[in-house]
Symmetry: C2
Subunit: 351 residues, 2 copies
């Protein structure tokens, strides 16, 4: 599946020499160098990486920096709508965006299981390059380790990212205030269902593709327009519900959302019904909530809808004062219930 | 072995609730939160981590930043002189130091195999905190993923680091010049032999401890004294030999070293003879070479010797012009030979 790469990049690595990753590819010697020079450097193409030092030096003209990291262990490595490479770039870009930062530079560390096909690695690294270009970031430094067969699972990727803060806002659960309006950037539940279908071999009428995408564009649009964003959160592990509960608990405020306002595609809703899941607990990789003051909510919504990745943004609820942090949801049939975090593990290795 | 932690930190996690890591500890829900709040936040103790956002915001007053990353897959997780946590901090601190940067902030991403003992995780995270304190850096952001049993190997840690450049030097293989003197910070070969002995159950007369330590202090001493450092390189995978060949090839100069000047402890030399290894190819985690101009070599050496981690620093060779990059070594018996990179894999998963 992964050898069928139609990305249009020229293939720089003499893959005929080695079809599979050997332990020595992680040993720091000749084979590590051939992987670096034959695959990573030409595909990522960033001058900092090409300097081949232990780290990358960059110039930064802002004093407030954001740093973030995520390990990616998604299984399977390739799924409808993306692969572990897409995820490793977008996930970290999105963490930076959720801090209100402009994502700039990423590092990438690969833990590869001995025997992993070099062609698959190349396809995934190409996905990373495309995703980095889309998100306007550069991979500037990296590392490769190889673990012996049976002690890994194909490929794990850890990316870290740095971004700059170009505004004076405090974007944090602590800045959420009573009266804030909660905007959701689009439909929920697709990434988790796409992974589950790919892993379990479930076939639905339509192929459900992951929502994996970079979220910096809509965030930067709001910031540039002067929206006084109070909090941003991407809806990854634990989904919309867990994210909102975290914010309610940290801010000690009540969040009330309206189930009928939350977009869920029919195929995702159908899959959830079959599998016994609620869409608000399903992981997404290209969805976020923004907490904004009521007076700017319509403007913020219009800005979100101008960005392709949040064209279906909508208002799903609001914040009120409370004795303690709490999320409530008005259900489709009109009753109100308390929403808790995801407890236990719904679907491991979603990201 | 790892439960016997005498670090002196109070134990904040109710480990009685869970003795082993469950998949749900990586699921983003309640258990992930309990791990974060019960273990990572109290042990690392950095305010940025405690803000519990997707990333950490920091103020930086310098325009030149260095970013680096390394994945740590060392096996066994604990070895004489350190553990994977010590290594994950020092390795990344050292990569920043080798770029001539003052290390400031680290991220840490954990890939944990289901069933891993929580007590072992705690011991390792405490090692990280101690190593971070020693190196004067802070872990400001992180991530935890759990993979199902049989698809990992206990624990992998990936750290990324950022540091600031407080000088105008270009420290790089490209800055190496004919006439440069090569200083080595201490004896070589201990880390690799310590890991090998721990893994294979080899017993030597003495316990050989890893040299794992932070190298920022000696580097910053030289920079603060105005040493015109041309290049720095820590001697990790592939050892002294591979590092020098990399630098010779990149700079297209000839590096001539003197085997008799390279400190190797007797027990390390003995172990190498038994195992058929050469000390110059063995990985170190607390050793580096500095390329400095002849006129400042004695001053640089004196500065290095003032730092406890490089008290045994010495001059091992020099750089001359050449038609192409090459490393030669005058052997103990007086003959001269060409030194190549490590080819193949000597000992996998050393770091």
């Amino acid at each position: 599946m992964m050898a069928d790469d139609s990305s249009g990049y020229a293939c720089p690595i003499p893959t005929s020499d080695y079809q599979q990753i050997l332990l020595a590819h992680g040993g720091g010697g000749r084979l590590t160098h051939s992987l670096l020079e034959g695959l990573f450097l030409p595909i990522f193409g960033s001058p900092e990486l090409a300097s081949r030092h232990d780290g990358a030096v960059v110039d930064i003209s802002h004093n407030r920096l954001v740093m973030t990291t995520d390990a990616y262990v998604v299984h399977p490595l390739v799924f409808p709508g993306g692969d572990i490479g897409t995820l490793a770039i977008n996930g970290t870009v999105n963490d930076l965006a959720m801090c209100g930062a402009r994502p700039l530079y990423l590092s990438a560390a690969f833990i590869i299981e001995e025997g992993f096909p070099v062609a698959s690695l190349e396809t995934i690294v190409r996905s990373m390059r495309r995703a980095a270009d889309d998100a306007q970031v550069r991979v500037i430094t990296g590392d490769t380790k190889v673990v012996d067969r049976g002690h890994g699972h194909g490929l794990f990727i850890t990316t870290a990212g740095i971004g700059v803060v170009e505004h004076d806002l405090l974007i944090s659960p602590a800045a959420v205030a009573p009266g804030d309006v909660i905007l959701l950037s689009g439909d929920v539940g697709r990434h988790g269902i796409a992974i589950m279908a790919a892993r379990e071999g479930l076939a639905f009428e339509t192929t459900i593709e992951s929502d994996c995408c970079p979220l910096s564009d809509p965030v930067l649009r709001m910031l540039e327009a002067g929206i006084d964003i109070h909090c941003l959160r991407d809806l990854t592990r634990g989904g919309l519900a867990t994210s909102l509960v975290e914010i309610a608990e940290t801010s000690r405020l009540r969040i009330a959302i309206d189930e009928s306002a939350i977009p869920v595609r029919d195929d995702v809703r159908g899959a959830c019904e079959i599998l016994g899941f609620e869409p608000i607990y399903i992981a997404n990789e290209g969805r976020f909530v923004a907490f904004v003051p009521e007076r700017q909510a319509d403007q913020a919504l219009a800005l979100l809808r101008r960005s392709p990745v949040s064209a279906d943004a909508c208002r799903i609820g609001r914040v009120t004062a409370a004795a303690s942090g709490l999320v409530t949801m008005k259900s489709l049939i009109g009753s109100e219930r308390i929403v808790d975090m995801l407890s236990g593990e719904q679907l491991p290795r979603i990201c």
